[in-house]
Symmetry: C2
């Protein structure tokens, strides 16, 4: 697999400092979100801050991660493109002081307004002799456009979930509980090389549970006549996948088949509408319109999709109020659903990569039928 | 298993509103942390706010969780002790407006300073016609003291991890990779009833990886002479467990045995020092002092422990600067360690419940030897 190359990310941020805050510019940015820190530097610890100045990067972490940081960051600057220092504090207070010390010469400091708690903000205000400048999405903007090496990992994660679903399909039968289906799927994904599930697998069966879009699996057994919504993804080398398929145990009713056909048509139309430049709100309208036309509008109770990468939910979000334009390198879900107690729940979800000509679907489990897929032979 | 009874939690918070902000009091509290919301109400969705007033509770969530909330919250008020309303918004902006509408009659509103982002705080300031009062730890204070039903779940989670480690011990041998050990442990915990691992299992082997306290498992194979640090816990019905054991593949060197004896003695002394009223800093000193006396002080690079419950890391934290007093119902880890490239890494960790007479150890895997435990026969 192509190695993830973080070089250029730090210098990209450093070069952009002068343009932040509506062009007024800042002298440095304090990055506190750990996913952003990981993307920027390759550091995978669970505690740390990064300061990016035009000519230096400083990582502040605690004693659990000092040796790890020395390995993950190239302090020569050859990797990140900037001379890099690592500072290790033995307490939260000491770490904050180390951040303060690293801010020497900084007048205007950008911080991540969406990731810094009010309490931390008050600490910054009290302890840093700088002008604090709230920013939103500076690093996320870079994270949105996935590189080929990142797509490779996401696609591999999708393939693991596809294979796992095919491998365990024959055990998804009446009498098995939602929890058991979750377990066999998550265990099979591990066996296939996932470092874990991308999120807790959703298995939602029947008229009581399937109408809950984010139901947590219970000891409810599957029964003939149940719709079963299975929302499953794998985590592979830090990257997530996301897919939903809906099945019926036994033969679908006329209503179940009708709802499925509507949702599938809406989902396929959504996928077909993905291309660079499409406004997320308009993509949402494509799916929502078809479902509303069929009379099921009130029961499509969530947005159409979201970005996927180092997080399972990230920019760009696709819903009725999202005005963002999709761009090449976005990886987003398309996942309309309809939920109602009289037939259960139906959701169909694929993960797609936005390409110059439209999109490429990364999740490949069959979706043409409400019947469970046949086990693969390979 | 005894059901979790959330009744009394909401009324406890409602009754305490008048005493918040140093006795100045508030008219309501806005709870935004999802773990706190779950503890308070039983709601398990991934998006929501709760407003607690002296005479009413309002939950605001999105369309994915409306039906779920109706089931999880007793809107008659018989469960929470307060009349309860559920409001469902279709976007973040609409949810914020619903929160604003629920604040009618509120003059002073407490919010969770440690859990509200700076960006959210700015939204609150702009959109709520109230005086915002920053508070820290209001709900966490209640969450700290575990009830017998909560201890039952944590102890069950500990038992799953104990059993899983015993069951897979015979497969922890030279040639097997860190990732493979993680996988068999996490799969076995699932089979034993865990809903997942409590955190990504740490398997850190040899002079390169074992010195990293929070190493992520890699494809590094175990070799004869390696110390192997295994930090493993189970998640059961929302509650976490946490335990670390260290083994040597083959026979330990004199230095490995010496370090192990020191760490084990420090850990046992720490457990023996746990009782209601002990100051966390003093407990840290017990472990740290024994390790320093043996000459390994600089290589004990983290705190001694932390609380465990609905989160894997929560109050109270046990480190050199923590002045909190332990109390009956606290569940905390005791986990000193020593990490150095010339022998590897050694950590021993138990999870204990603070009782009126001292503590009760909830993790029961053998720790008297650097040898791997024999498989259990039951």
């Amino acid at each position: 697999m192509t190695p993830i190359d973080v070089s250029g990310r730090v210098t990209g941020i450093a070069d952009g400092l002068a343009a932040l805050d509506g062009g007024r510019g800042v002298d440095a940015i304090l990055v506190s979100d750990l996913t952003n820190i990981g993307w920027l530097t390759g550091f995978s610890g669970s505690n740390g801050w990064v300061i990016v100045k035009p000519d230096e990067l400083v990582l502040v972490t605690d004693g659990r991660y000092g040796a790890q940081a020395e390995r993950q960051l190239d302090t020569s600057g050859a990797g990140s493109g900037l001379p890099t220092r690592i500072e290790v504090g033995s307490s939260g207070a000491q770490m904050l002081a180390l951040v303060g010390a690293a801010l020497g010469g900084v007048g205007r400091l950008a911080f991540e307004s969406a990731h810094v708690s009010h309490q931390q903000f008050v600490s910054y205000s009290e302890q840093f002799a700088v002008t604090l400048v709230a920013t939103v999405g500076v690093i996320e903007q870079g994270r949105r456009r996935k590189t080929p090496a990142e797509i490779e990992r996401i696609e591999h994660a999708c393939g693991i979930a596809d294979q796992a679903l095919a491998d365990v399909a024959s055990s998804i039968v009446a009498g098995v509980t939602e929890e058991q289906v979750r377990n066999v799927l998550e265990i099979r994904m591990r066996e296939l090389g996932a470092s874990g599930p991308s999120y807790e697998t959703i298995v939602a069966a029947g008229p009581v549970n399937a109408p809950l879009p984010h139901h947590r699996p219970t000891s409810t057994p599957l029964e003939v006549g149940h719709t079963v919504v299975i929302d499953v993804g794998a985590l592979f080398d830090g990257y997530h996948s996301d897919m939903t398929r809906t099945f019926v145990i036994g033969q679908p009713t006329v209503l179940q088949q009708q709802v499925y056909d509507v949702v599938l048509a809406a989902q396929c139309a959504g996928v077909a509408a993905v291309h660079p430049g499409v406004v997320a709100r308009d993509l949402d309208t494509v799916c929502r319109g078809l479902i509303a036309d069929a009379g099921f509008g009130p029961w499509f109770s969530h947005g159409t999709g979201h970005g996927v990468g180092l997080l399972i939910h990230e920019d760009p979000f696709v819903n009725a109020s999202s005005e963002v334009e999709l761009q090449v390198g976005d990886v987003v879900t398309v996942e309309p659903g309809v939920y109602r107690g009289d037939f259960g729940g139906v959701r169909v979800e694929d993960l797609v990569e936005v390409t110059s000509t439209g999109c490429r679907v990364l999740t490949r489990s069959p979706k043409d039928s409400l019947c469970l897929p046949l086990p693969r032979t390979n």
